[in-house]
Amino acid sequence: MRAAAGSVSTGETRIVVSVASRKNLFILGGGLVILVALAFFPVFGSLAWTRRLVDFFLFLALAQFWNLLLGYGGIISVGQQGYIGMGCYALWFFADVLHVPLFLAVILAGLSGAIIAVPSAALVFKLRGGYLAIGTMVLAEMYRMIVSNIEATGGGSGVTIQAATEFGNESRVSGTYWWALAAAVIAIAAVYYTMRSRTGLALKAVRDDDLAAESSGVNLWRTRMYTFVIAGAGCALVGGILAISLLRIQPASVFAINWSAYMVFISVIGGLGTIEGPIIGAVIFFVLRETTSGYGGWYFIALGVVAVIVPVWNLGGIYGFVAKRTKFFVFPLRRKVKILGDGPGQAEPATQEEVSA
């Protein structure tokens, strides 16, 4: 996050291109302080709240990866629960069968997600338009059927993560907490880094107009594959952490389509195509879940109604609404062009590079 990316002098006017403003650097500092405070939470916080925050961080990470797929990559998936579930079972496999240290196995779970994502992406990318979404759903179903039909993985009743039960309750919850916090940070960092890289520029070009991007030399297939693999790895990583947190994993719950519902809700209400959106969305979702999930069906109906209303009336989510008015991004991704000229009447800074939701 450099304050200034460069400046060009063209005759009388000086053009400064920057990404982050001073305000951004202050926020970064504040964010780091909050992060350090959060890292110490299990030391002074209650066990119940530590558990709640684990869920919060996992939802946040999932929504960031889903948002990377759709908000930046233009890939609509309703099958990320396939990677969550496979991450859970990969963790079980590495920790309980191969006896890899539990919290190390989380990394291997994430890697498994990346490996599964490669052939999956190659397959679903053959589908046109929104049919791709149903394709991802089919694959998630196939993964679920494989683990729930095989006896070794405990079938439909699932398996208990033995390696996790050997930990004391408190140290297990703390360990899960740190991993969950790390997953959220990794997710945000991965999205930010990706979007600031060449691939990110290609992704934005693809999202805005894939035909134009492809004719400008962007390798559409490779760019989308990259996104899909990152998201697959990320969701499987979350799955691995989830498995430790749950202790017992069952195919019906870890492969549930509800995961997709949560990701859609968080991204859509917070704002697609921004890093800030899913953070706001995750907070809203978390509060909603803590207060109204007792209402069961009505709670899911409310999530569904939001998914219907927000896009139909073309609302860019909460952050989209804020950003449109303030033009301020906590995570600056766009280059801002400032023209500091003596040129005739040109003094006010202009922001360029439009973003379409």
């Binding site: 397959l123 338009g129 149903i134 179903e141 059927m145 009505w298 109604v305 209303i309 139909v312």
Partner: protein, 295 residues
């Protein structure tokens, strides 16, 4: 003989899948909308029949025309009031909105009827069958369902080719802007197309309800079956959809025979994956509603 029996069952089951697939294909072909709530719309008519059977003691078969009228209206109004706003926007938006719709329908049904399986009783016909040999008999009900599917799909083809409204459907599917310039009210056409799609779904959904049990959460599975039939057969081809449905049905019943009943649906998915990998355009691609440049 067991093999022949399961093959026959698979073919007959395929007719039902083709009926589900037709509705999905119409909406995708004409509106470029991927309707994730499609499967839930196949469940709704079964519950509608349940209500009609309970209220006026109707045979579920006779509930079909009433449900068709209701679902046509539902589809027309849904498109007119909500989904028409999405025409021309990004494909993903339609997916998100219909996904939300799917959640609302599923959980609405769960609240109203609970998670338990329900069934429709159509009387004696459910157990009547034609005996061909000692080990092979064909149930009247699956046969009627299959023949209905063939009639509906043929009827739809005739409608698309020989009527003014069908011509308008094809025009809008090919190029909706040009169609509008030629004086076609595209908003109305989209709404009628959604109405027709949901109307066709009623036939399949109600018959499936008579054939087997149903519950509120089956929608996603139905959506997947419909989708697989479309992709296997080839997008936009009416007869392809029928063949796609039949292949899917065959894969499921023969797969169950070879691998055991637990793998039945998986075998269907596997055939879908294989065909997608080697022939992504489907077996019979390109006819009336095919030329969708949808991405």
């Amino acid at each position: 003989m067991e093999w022949v029996n399961s093959a026959v069952q698979g073919i007959l089951l395929g007719g039902l899948y083709a009926l589900f697939a037709t509705g999905l294909a119409i909406v995708f072909g004409i509106m470029r909308l991927t309707n994730l709530a499609h499967g839930d719309f196949t469940i709704l008519p079964a519950y509608l029949a349940l209500v009609l059977v309970g209220a006026i003691g109707l045979n579920p078969f006779y509930s079909i025309p009433i449900s068709m009228a209701i679902m046509f209206m539902v589809g027309y109004l849904l498109q007119r009031s909500l989904l028409n706003r999405l025409v021309g926007s990004k494909i993903a938006i339609g997916v998100i909105v219909t996904f939300g719709l799917s959640m609302v329908i599923q959980n609405g049904l769960l609240l109203g009827y609970g998670p338990n399986s329900q069934g429709l009783d159509a009387g004696k016909i459910e157990n009547m069958s034609i005996r061909i040999s000692e080990n092979l008999s064909i149930g009247w009900l699956p046969l009627i369902i299959f023949l209905t599917a063939v009639v509906v799909i043929s009827g739809l083809q005739l409608f698309l080719v020989h009527t003014r409204m069908g011509g308008a459907f094809r025009a809008v599917s090919d190029d909706h802007q040009a169609a509008r310039l030629m004086g076609i009210n595209t908003k109305h056409i989209y709404a009628v197309a959604m109405g027709v799609a949901l109307g066709i779904i009623v036939i399949g959904g109600t018959m499936m309800g008579i054939r087997t049990t149903f519950d509120p959460l089956l929608g996603n599975q139905r959506l997947i079956f419909a989708f697989e039939a479309v992709i296997i057969g080839g997008m936009g081809s009416g007869w392809g959809t029928l063949i796609g449905g039949v292949i899917l049905g065959l894969a499921q019943t023969v797969g169950a025979q070879i691998l055991g009943p637990a793998w039945s649906i998986f075998a269907g998915h596997a055939i879908f994956v294989i065909i997608l990998a080697v022939r992504p355009q489907g077996l019979l691609a390109r006819t009336v509603l095919a030329k969708g440049v949808a991405s």
